[in-house]
Amino acid sequence: MCYWIIILEKSKTQMESGRGFGGSATRRIPNGKSLEQGDTAQGNNNGMSNGHGYVVLRNRLTALVVDDDRICRTCEKALLESYGVDTQAVENGRDAVDLFASGASFNLVLMAKVLPVMNGLEATRQIRAMGIRSKILAVTAAAYERERRAFLEAGADEFIEKPLTPQILVPILLELDNN
């Protein structure tokens, strides 16, 4: 059962300008910092909104997503790409290690834990053993403390329980961008 309520109003609108909003240019923040709270036009997500260009990176960052689950791979890749991060994705730890071994480099690695062929812990260990200093984030559905410790001991920089949110990702991207 559908019902419609229709109101029509005609008016001349004025563009509210100020704080850089206005004209037809997309909103950009020149120094790459995210908006202060008061600047957001969108609700309450602290200016971390990616779909509206509020966070802009100076450099072209690169990332590797390692996850055998295609939902997670798709969401994480889309999130990274929305910030202009050049992102590749592989489905197992072995492929990730091989990529690095072949000379590829990435600023950021999102590593899941449970993977076929070679799991995330082992892949992390092997990547670190090669001397790779990329930022490795364990992004996993695992949540037990022992799983967190194991990943950090394997060489991950941070342990993130899925889902990966802009609130967690943006500060990391900004930090990478500044270095």
């Binding site: 109101i7 001349k12 036009a41 449970v114 899925k162 949110t165």
Partner: protein, 210 residues
Amino acid sequence: MTSCLWSLENGRAKGKFVADQGIHLKDPLLDYRPMANKGYDANKPTTTMCHQVSQKDVIMRLLFVDGSLYLKGNPAIFHGYLDDQFTQLQKLQDESNPDFVVEVVSLFFEDSEKLLNNLTRALEQQNVDFRQVDAHVHQFKGSSSSIGAMRVKNVCVAFRNNCEAQNHEGSLRCLQQVKYEYSLLKNKLETLFRLEQQILAAGGSIPIME
């Protein structure tokens, strides 16, 4: 037809105008997201139409501004089925990626159904391999959290605890519960998408009243 869904204060929307993103009304509860933008011209007089459409218990509010359609919020969040992560996915949808949400959710439905079948089979075994069961639940926890399916995810947390404890009874209960939550969620999302399609389809033919 005189009910007002929200006030526009003499035709001027409350909030900031962002030229390439459309109007954002300062609504404390819900954000607008553009559905089909045909371009926004700040110098043109604005024709604003507000509509409310409902189907079953899913209500959607939409705003037409000069031929551009804006959808108000996502009601599923307020039924507690989907959390902010789903909103984040919606923000990733744009002109270059216009069907992102529907595509991801379709993949989720496909994968979830396989997972649930695998879980059912694994728990039917004489000697249950709890490590295998846990691996499936782990995957389901990951994918459900990635799309914001919070109730499904929460059952997976309890489910993992039962696998850890090798509790067959508890695991079977969790399986029933996760199937139930999943079917509710699927129903809600399918209604939401169907409604969106109807709105888009009707968009061109809603009459302007003088």
